[in-house]
């Protein structure tokens, strides 16, 4: 039972269920939508600031690259303009002393030129067409001069003598397995454009990295791409030397479309790509940011979800309690109301709970009050109406009765039977007196018996003494109270129905007390009747002429019910040919005077 109640509380049909479901759904969705929006907004903000700072960082990287390039350009310019270098590279082999001077001047000159380089980690090699060469540090190119001359690098530089170009040289034996970035420039005679030597300026990839190394961190990587998409330098050591067309494509897109950044998915991971172009190197600086890693630092997803879930749970619990309390009084009200309709209208509601439920309860109680008032008024009115009807009937002395009685008296007088005539008149007067007085008054059994005897006497005067009436009244009942003329209709009924076709018979009237009840019986040995058929005859007496008042047998029953309630009333037993037995039950009442 209890279980059923609690489940029914949660069912979506109840107010509680509805409110709770709505609150749960809306709380969760508000929490979700808010956090999603927040995450998105801050992601966007983060991305923007990130791209701004990283753009600045790239700018700084670019600047240091440009500074380095400026050094390289300065050095290559000075080398190209140096007559000593030109002489060293163009003159033929002479005697030891001259060669000595030439080599000394060359190294001296180069040392002087290179001293202007800010960066120490540059290996300079110059190869002349005359076979002479100069190296400031053999650690960069550990291979032979011939190997350097035979490299594609040498060829490419000769092909494009006008520009200083940067090349990526994969680590090999010639470079002690170190990848190099080599700037090369052809040294040309200004007037004849004849190439007399090639200048190589080598920087190890790991030293090249120092231009951006400080800005990198896990998930924030820098990659330097050449125009083929080959990675010439990167803090991701494993990717150096690889070719990435994808990155090149992104970098070119960023450059041509002037984008701040791009998001690229490579091998399952989403990466933010920022890029800038190094004009002088023909390289792209590409900044790769692992989006997941970067955002994970900003948004610890697990923590956000846990916190969100905790907040939602707590608020749902609070909502549950509040909704329960709000709807509780309403639920009680509903239960009380439903019990009212089942039983009676006197089940008033206890007022309590919120304002609304209190008002509702008050209104409901007021309605019950009104309803009860109305019903009692109605009952009272009906009772009064019935009483009035009965009183009217009682008072309605049948004129035929008077006529017949007076006609009988007249005959008695003509016959000279004076005493009997007088007695008859007196009986009639007494009878009339009782009838005229207040119909609701009760009288003692004794008085009622007198009235009955008067009535019987008058009837016997009219129809002869063939029908004998006997009274068996318990002496203690003589003072008991009963309504006026309550037995008379049954005597009358016996006279006119029980003995319609006969002139002899008897009627017994018996009055006794049974506990708190006064029982009166009127028994005759007349023709009797079929009760089912007699129903109509009783209620609608065919011969009204014979009746004393308008009160019929049926009215008596109604009157008793009206006066004393449904525990009391009239029962009739009758069979055709066996007579009729009427039993009448009324409460035992004794007037206070008589008691005293």
């Amino acid at each position: 039972m209890k279980l059923k109640q609690s489940t029914s509380r949660f069912s979506p049909q109840t107010l509680f269920g509805k409110i709770f479901v709505v609150m749960v759904v809306s709380t969760i969705s508000v929490a979700l939508v808010t956090s999603l929006l927040m995450v998105q907004v801050s992601q966007k903000l983060f991305m923007n600031t990130f791209s701004i700072t990283n753009t600045k960082i790239i700018q700084q990287i670019k600047n240091s690259f440009e500074d380095f390039n400026y050094d390289i350009v300065t050095v290559s310019g000075e080398v190209a303009q140096s007559l000593t270098v030109k002489t060293f590279l163009t003159e033929g082999d002479k005697d030891s002393l001259s060669n000595n001077f030439s080599v000394y001047r060359m190294t001296d000159q180069m040392e002087h030129i290179l001293s202007s380089l800010d960066i120490n980690e540059v290996g300079v090699a110059i190869i002349g067409v005359n076979g002479r060469s100069y190296f400031n540090n053999r650690a960069y190119w550990t291979g032979t001069t011939g190997e350097l001359k035979g490299s594609t690098l040498y060829e490419e530089t000769i092909q494009h003598p006008e520009k200083l170009s940067y090349h990526y040289f994969k680590g090999d034996e010639e470079t002690s397995d170190q990848p190099l970035i080599i700037a090369s420039k052809a040294l040309r005679n200004p007037s004849t454009k004849e190439i007399y030597g090639i200048l190589f300026m080598m920087i190890r990839e790991k030293d090249f990295r120092q231009f951006y190394g400080n800005f990198t961190s896990t998930g924030n990587d820098v990659v330097i791409l050449n125009h083929n998409g080959q990675i010439v330098s990167s803090n991701l050591a494993g990717r150096i030397g690889q070719t990435s067309k994808e990155l090149l494509q992104s970098a070119e897109n960023i450059r041509t479309q002037n984008l701040d950044y791009m998001t690229v998915s490579t091998s399952g991971a989403s990466e933010i790509v920022l890029a800038d172009y190094l004009q002088t190197y023909d390289y792209y600086i590409v900044n790769l940011i692992d989006k997941k890693m970067a955002l994970e630092k900003l948004f610890p997803a697990k923590q956000i979800i846990l916190t969100g879930a905790a907040i939602v749970t707590v608020s749902l619990m609070v909502i549950f309690i509040i909704v329960r309390r709000v709807t509780r009084s309403l639920r009680i009200l509903v239960r009380q109301m439903s019990s009212v309709t089942k039983r009676n209208l006197h089940n008033y509601i206890t007022i309590g709970g919120s304002y609304e439920t209190r008002e509702l309860g008050t209104a409901f109680n007021y309605m019950l009050d009104e309803l009860n008032d109305y019903i009692s008024q109605l009952v009272e009115t009906q009772r009064e109406q019935r009483n009035a009807e009965l009183a009217a009937l009682q008072r309605q002395i049948n004129p035929h009765f008077l006529y017949n009685t007076l006609a009988s008296v007249n005959i008695l007088v003509q016959r000279g039977n004076k005493e009997k005539a007088t007695e008859t008149i007196r009986a009639l007067i007494s009878l009339l007196q009782n009838t005229i007085s207040n119909v609701s008054e009760t009288i003692t059994v004794e008085q009622e018996l007198i009235n009955l005897k008067h009535y019987v006497f008058i009837n016997q005067v009219r129809y002869g003494p063939g029908i004998q009436v006997d009274y068996f009244v318990s002496p203690d009942c003589m003072k008991a109270q009963l309504p006026k003329l309550i037995l008379q209709p049954f005597i009358e009924n016996s006279f006119f129905h029980g003995f319609m076709d006969r002139t002899t018979g008897y009627i017994y009237v018996m009055i006794a007390r049974e506990g708190g009840t006064l029982v009166c019986e009127v028994v005759d040995n007349g023709t009797g009747m079929d009760l089912e058929a007699a129903g109509s005859r009783l209620s609608n007496p065919a011969n009204k002429r014979q009746m004393f008042t308008g009160i019929g047998v049926r009215n008596v029953h109604e009157r008793i019910l009206l006066l004393y309630g449904e525990h009391y009333g009239v029962t009739i037993e009758s069979k055709p040919g066996e007579g009729t037995k009427v039993r009448l039950r009324i409460p035992w009442l004794i007037s206070s005077e008589d008691e005293a």
């Binding site: 000394y104 060469s133 100069y134």
Partner: protein, 430 residues
């Protein structure tokens, strides 16, 4: 729940402790008393590092639990790191043992008096070649374990000499004037230059003056001794004569120097014994080489046919773990004769431990040099090397002398050139 949390906390602490520990050992140089590892710095993987690794292996046979790690750095890097570390006063990141070139040793010992550990009680200075002691000791205390010999010799191409009508004996124990004379003849007859020279490296001059017991500085190691240095004057004159003889192939760097003899361009190589492996690298010239004593200065009576170039020694830094490091050096490079045999046969290192010279390997004949017992030949020369104090400023003074030499070659008066160099050195090295 609480227990689990405590366990978690404990494991985090433990992990971080492990992390910091591994970091410590990764930094390597800082070998505190907690870390027993000995760190060694050296620069040539084919020479001194290879030799040190042999020493480590030898030591491991008796002291298996002593870990020694050998780290390679360029020589310039080692000097820079040492200077930086010792200047800052923090020994953090410095090794236990470091290899220092003899020319530079004094400058370190004098500049950082307390930075090196006195090995006088670990090794006996008298066990080593005498000429090595001056550079590796200070104020009577032995700081370095002398390592490779810098004894020099004249490597000659017997085939070229033969073509020019000379024998090996014609070049044995000669003076530089005779050498120049032969050089001209060889050039005229074969077309080959006699030797290579780098104008920026006065190694030849250094060898010449050391053969006369002279140096750039006086015996105190600090006072420049350029002006009126008879040996130096003789060396300069000889050098100029050599250049003017037009028998010198000019090179500008080390690889051109190597290419000079490997390609067969030159007939002789006057340099230290450590060039032997490089000479032998050109297998096609096997049997065509011989080694004779270095020529001496003709006009300097003190000059002998023996000199030195290069060479280095091991030093123990005064950092935690110095006792273990000293013991390691004493038991290996300080005394182990067998180790020296290994180093000679496997790496080509001629050590300066006198006892090592008695070993088998030092008496082996070398077919590459026509069956000459080269190492055995070097030994007496080693004994003859005049002992000089390299002092603190060998390279600084040479930087001054290089341009002055050019001036001299260009026709300036020798006395003026040396006087200029003297005044520059005095003003710069104050």
């Amino acid at each position: 729940m609480k227990k689990a949390f405590v366990a978690l906390l404990a494991s985090i602490l433990l992990l971080s402790a492990c992390g910091s520990k591994s970091e410590n050992s990764a930094s390597g140089g800082n070998s505190g008393s907690t870390s027993k590892e000995i760190t060694v710095w050296a620069w040539d993987p084919n020479f001194n590092i290879a030799a040190m690794k042999l020493a480590v292996d030898a030591y491991a046979k008796t002291n298996a639990d002593q870990k020694v790690s050998v780290v390679e750095y360029a020589q310039d890097d080692i000097i820079q790191k040492l200077n930086t570390g010792l200047n800052s006063g923090t020994t953090n990141g410095l090794p236990n043992i470091v290899l220092i070139e003899d020319y530079r040793a004094q400058s370190f010992l004098k500049a950082y008096p307390d930075a090196f550990y006195d090995l006088s009680n670990s090794i006996k200075a008298s066990d080593f070649a005498d000429y090595k002691i001056a550079s590796s000791s200070l104020d009577g205390k032995q700081y370095g374990v002398p390592f490779d010999s810098g004894v020099a010799g004249l490597y000659v191409r017997t085939d070229y000499l033969k073509d020019a009508g000379y024998t090996v004996d014609d070049l044995t124990n000669i003076d530089w004037d005779k050498y120049i004379e032969i050089a001209k003849d060889v050039k005229a007859k074969t077309g080959h230059d006699m030797l290579t020279q780098d104008p920026n490296d006065l190694g030849l001059v250094r060898m010449m003056i050391q053969s006369a017991g002279s140096w750039y500085t006086k015996e105190d190691g600090t006072t420049p001794d350029l002006k009126d240095n008879a040996a130096l004057k003789d060396a300069f004159t000889t050098y100029k004569a050599l250049m003017e003889s037009n028998t010198v192939k000019i090179t500008s760097d080390w690889s051109q120097f190597l290419a000079g003899f490997n390609s067969g361009d030159v007939a002789t190589v006057p340099t230290g014994n450590w060039i032997t492996p490089s000479v032998k690298a050109e297998a096609s010239q096997s049997g065509k080489w011989a080694i004779v004593p270095m020529p001496k200065l003709k006009n300097t009576s003190s000059s002998v046919n023996a000199t030195n170039i290069g060479g280095s020694s091991w030093y123990v830094l005064n950092v935690p773990g110095k006792e273990q490091a000293a013991e390691f050096l004493a038991k290996t490079l300080g005394s182990d004769v067998n180790l020296y045999q290994d180093m000679l046969t496997k790496v080509g290192v001629i050590g300066t431990l006198k006892a090592a010279g008695e070993g088998e390997a030092y008496k082996q004949a070398d077919e590459y040099f026509g069956g000459q017992k080269t190492v055995e030949d070097f030994s007496p020369w080693t004994q003859q090397i005049p002992q000089v104090n390299f002092g603190m400023n060998t390279y600084a003074i040479e930087d001054i002398l290089v341009p002055e030499m050019q001036n001299y070659l260009n026709g300036q008066d020798l006395d003026k050139v040396l006087a200029d160099a003297q005044s520059q050195a005095e003003s710069q090295l104050q």
